[in-house]
């Protein structure tokens, strides 16, 4: 029975890995056989690729680093603060988190247009900093933290920020890495927001480049897709332990 389950999971993993394997394979394969011409065309003949690559790195890093403090403070408020309407407010957060992007993108665009942030990097970064996903996930983790540590910290100091810094964050370090990884991957993969909110090609991201790869000369689609998945893959490999622990932390408690 265990062998059968192992075989099924092996086959399933093969199915999931097939698109990635095909992408890597076709990045080196053209009509003439195996060549690196696609990488040559992309890296030495398609210079608009580089600004877009670094824009992706910049936006994903900035959003992840800025979202974490917001998410931690928000989750702390939902977990430990006592105020009227907390439950209803949290339900709104969940509804907002579950809303498809197509529903919220137009109000987002109108808001950014009125603030004069369309076609600026802030038009991409700011809405994502206040995404409800991280707050909801972090709140679930925070519910399982040891309240006695927080009470002890509150006896030492009246500053909420110090309490969070000294007692909450050390307990949730693993979960913070897991949330950061999810947020980075979500921001790295976003394509609708750069497509709609940015008109200047120098501000667009790699996901937009890949979606428009057919308009460039040379076989640049598959090599750009391979380069696109490397940073997230490296980040996952580096933080895979934390991700595993972070995802199971709630269950153990």
């Amino acid at each position: 029975m265990k062998k059968l389950i192992g075989i099924i999971f092996f086959l399933l993993s093969g199915v999931f890995l097939l698109p990635v394997a095909a992408t890597v394979f076709f990045s080196f394969y053209s009509e003439g056989g195996f060549t690196a011409d696609g990488y040559k065309d992309l890296l030495f003949d398609c210079f608009v690729f580089y600004p877009m690559f670094w824009n992706s790195v910049l936006y994903a890093s900035a959003i992840t680093l800025a979202q974490l403090p917001v998410v931690i403070l928000c989750a702390f408020g939902f977990t430990w603060a006592k105020f009227r309407g907390k439950g209803i407010l949290f339900i709104f957060y969940i509804i907002l988190m579950m809303m498809p992007l197509q529903v919220t993108i137009l109000p987002n665009y109108i808001g950014l247009r009125d603030m004069g942030l369309v076609n600026t990097p802030w038009g991409i970064i700011l809405p994502m900093i206040f995404s409800p996903f991280g707050a909801v996930v972090m709140h679930q983790y925070m519910k399982n933290t040891d309240s006695s540590v927080i009470e002890a910290a509150r006896l030492e100091t009246s500053s909420i920020f110090r309490v969070i810094l000294v007692s909450v964050i050390p307990q949730l370090r693993v979960c913070i890495f897991a949330v950061a990884l999810f947020v980075f991957a979500e921001c790295w993969n976003m394509v609708e927001q750069p497509m709609l909110f940015l008109t200047d090609k120098n501000l667009k991201t790699m996901s937009v480049f890949i979606s428009e790869a057919g308009s460039y000369t040379g076989a640049v689609l598959f090599p750009s897709a391979v380069i696109f998945l490397i940073p997230v893959l490296l980040l996952y490999l580096f933080f895979s332990d934390s991700l595993e622990k972070g995802l199971t932390l709630g269950e153990l408690s």
Binding site: L43, F44, D45, C46, F47, V48, Y50, T217, L234, F238
Partner: protein, 141 residues
């Protein structure tokens, strides 16, 4: 074992971003250095004699300046420079033209061009590598 794999991942990450940073600044320079380096100049004009008859039937000969090309270049063709956008950036390319010439000749071996090249065109006069029709070039002068 986990520490070693993390170290390898970190080294690979640093190398990846270092290579991308290097290519960001130097990829275009490397690309340009591998292109044929060409010098271009405007189309030459020469004085060609024109014979005409006036209203009284007198034959008049006068000289007029027309686009000209040397007889040597007729056989191998002329490479004309043009600018086009490729992959989001403006670049220079060479187009091979075999211009149509008249029978008129100057003393220094120039032919009058009837079609194929116009006055505003820039012709490649020297190159560091062999050119072909439609190849990308880097203009030095």
């Amino acid at each position: 074992m986990k520490n070693i794999s993390k170290k390898i991942t970190l080294i690979f990450t640093v190398m990846f971003f270092a290579v991308m940073l290097f290519l960001t600044f130097f990829a275009e320079k490397i690309h340009i250095s591998l292109l044929p380096q060409v010098q271009a100049s405007g189309v030459e004009t020469k004085l060609f004699s024109v014979t005409a008859t006036d209203e009284n039937g007198n034959i008049m000969q006068y000289f007029t300046e027309k686009t000209a090309i040397s007889e040597e270049k007729l056989e191998e063709g002329v490479y004309v420079l043009y600018t086009a956008e490729k992959n989001g950036t403006k670049r220079s390319f060479a187009r091979q033209i075999f211009p149509e010439v008249s029978e008129a000749r100057t003393e220094d071996g120039y032919c009058e061009v009837i079609s194929g090249i116009s006055f505003g065109d820039r012709i490649i006069i020297s190159t560091t590598k062999e050119l072909f029709d439609g190849c990308e070039v880097n203009v030095i002068k």
